[in-house]
């Protein structure tokens, strides 16, 4: 009986379920695009993005330039908010609750507590329940997903390996979450208790997932999506929407690629449409083979 649980998510009030998780559900079947200025935001909106992520440097440039990556200049975020009518999201460093307070004061529509920025706290994530603004957080497996939801995240995305143009890690993370959900099917009380203690989350949350066979919040994908086929792959693997970071504005023809990825997500199960939209897109972003990255260059291990 999934219906019974529609209004109940362990740890969320009924109002948070409809207003915070409900906001995230409006993004389903859509593409959220990283943009660094108002002009890119307009291109994204015109191409059919369902939201934009405002940040100063896309992950590929954060990788290239190094240094500490922080929340973006409020002036730049405000310019993007002014330029488009679709939701505007922005990133904060893991655990940096003051950056989050500032984004909430600016009425950013959704806050991404992101491993793409340099973590500010190695022990704690932001206590997302203290905010009115919905949060999205990355995960590599079910344990990370449920810990973030327990902290108050209203939406989960795979971490993937941002800024590489390589979808392999996003696939790994999505498969990990879905197979670990499947393993919970039919688990008895003792097995649920054991799993909850292993994942360090309340047993009610694990029991909800075991019974409903899905996460209690929308499950999106991010990290390394560069082509319409990548986006459709993540959707067919169970993502409900797709974040595209460097993949659009680091490619040869961002406007055309953005439109193609939007259409690919809507028609993710129709290979004929995917063929059509993939023709003549110009150069994709140059990818990185993840096995060539040193462990400290990998972002997905941040914030577990």
């Amino acid at each position: 009986m999934t219906q019974k649980h529609k209004q109940q998510v362990p740890g969320f009030t009924a109002e948070e379920v409809v207003s915070k998780i409900g906001f995230c559900k409006q993004l389903e079947g859509g593409v959220i695009m990283d943009v660094v200025d108002a002009e890119q935001a307009r291109i994204a909106e015109e191409a059919g993005a369902c939201a934009v992520m405002a940040l100063e440097r896309v992950p590929a440039d954060i990788r290239k330039h190094g240094g500490v990556a922080r929340a973006s200049d409020p002036e730049m975020i405000a310019a993007i908010q002014k330029a488009v009518s679709i939701p505007v999201m922005a990133k904060v460093r893991i655990g940096h609750f003051v950056e989050a307070q500032m984004l909430e004061a600016m009425e950013v529509d959704c806050i991404d507590e992101s491993e793409v920025l340099t973590p500010a706290d190695e022990q704690f994530h932001v206590d997302k329940r203290r905010f009115r603004t919905p949060f999205v957080c990355g995960c590599r497996d079910l344990g990370e997903a449920l810990r973030r939801i327990h902290e108050g995240a209203a939406m989960i995305r795979t971490k993937g390996e941002a800024g590489t143009g390589n979808v392999v890690e996003a696939v790994r993370h999505m498969r990990a979450v879905t197979s670990q959900i499947r393993e919970l099917r039919g688990a008895d009380d003792k097995a649920l208790e054991k799993k909850a203690s292993e994942l360090r989350v309340p047993v009610e949350l694990v029991a909800w997932v075991a019974e409903n066979q899905k996460l209690p919040v929308p499950n999106f994908s991010a990290g390394g999506v560069a082509t319409p086929a990548d986006a459709a792959l993540m959707m067919q693997l169970g993502a409900e929407a797709v974040f595209v970071g460097s993949g659009i504005f680091k490619s040869g023809n961002p406007a055309i690629r953005a439109r193609a990825i939007v259409r690919a997500v809507t028609h993710c199960n129709d290979p004929k449409v995917l063929v059509e939209v993939s023709k003549g897109l110009g150069e994709p972003m140059v990818g990185i083979d993840i096995t060539t990255l040193a462990p400290q260059e990998r972002l997905a291990g941040r914030g577990i």
């Binding site: 409809v18 409900g22 559900k25 409006q26 079947g29 939201a51 908010q81 997500v265 809507t266």
Partner: protein, 206 residues
């Protein structure tokens, strides 16, 4: 409810982007099967249509690319029950502001996009209505605000002084999201429209 001798009508869900899956769950609770609509062929044989919440700019763009603008417009004007929430209401309004954008014009209202503010101002608010049960509320998410209601449009519910649930003939439009709340009476209202319309139609052969 449909009689036992006929199958319940199938409701089409515009599934270009947005919370169409929530509408499917909400209508299933009333025994109504649904079909996702992404191309014009998906519009055949429907007994009702839902335009869900989501981003209206995304939906407009995809309606054009898919060649769906015309066929969907014909279906919307065919007289079958139509239910539009949030972005769906924007697509049906006669006039859209902030910014101005194209729409089908089936509901004689003017809407201001995000008229109640950004997501920070989203939430569940009490509704005043003569037709809904006392205590009914609505969840508004970056909701459009109706600033003008033209002739031929009935206001069924208000939030404060603002109209938020309107009807024009077979078209029902909500600024809020009944599909997100458990067993919301507005979903029941639309389900009853679909069943009544279905039993007034000749049964399909086979």
């Amino acid at each position: 409810m449909a009689s036992e001798s006929r199958r319940p009508p199938v409701v089409g869900l515009l599934a270009l982007q947005g919370d169409f899956a929530e509408h499917a769950v909400a209508l299933a609770a009333h025994g109504l099967p649904t079909r996702e609509v992404r191309r014009s062929a998906d519009l055949a044989g429907l007994g009702g249509l839902v335009l869900p919440g989501g981003e209206s700019t995304t939906m407009l763009r995809l309606l054009d690319v898919e060649g769906l603008w015309g066929p969907l417009g014909a279906a919307l004007r065919s007289g079958m029950p139509v239910f539009a929430t949030c972005a769906g209401l924007i697509l049906l309004a006669q006039r859209v502001e902030s910014p101005a954008q194209r729409s089908y014009g089936l509901l004689p209202v003017t809407v201001v996009r995000n008229g109640y503010g950004r997501q920070y101002h989203s939430g569940t608010f009490a509704l005043e209505s003569a037709v809904l049960p006392r205590g009914t509320s609505g969840t508004f998410i970056r909701a459009p605000r109706i600033t003008h209601v033209g002739p031929g449009c009935e206001v069924l519910a208000r939030r404060g002084s603002d109209p938020v649930l309107v009807r024009a003939g077979p078209v029902l439009g909500a600024c809020f999201h009944p599909e997100l709340q458990e067993r919301h009476p507005v979903v029941a209202m639309f389900a009853a429209d679909v069943c009544a319309h279905g039993s007034a139609q000749p049964a399909e052969a086979g």
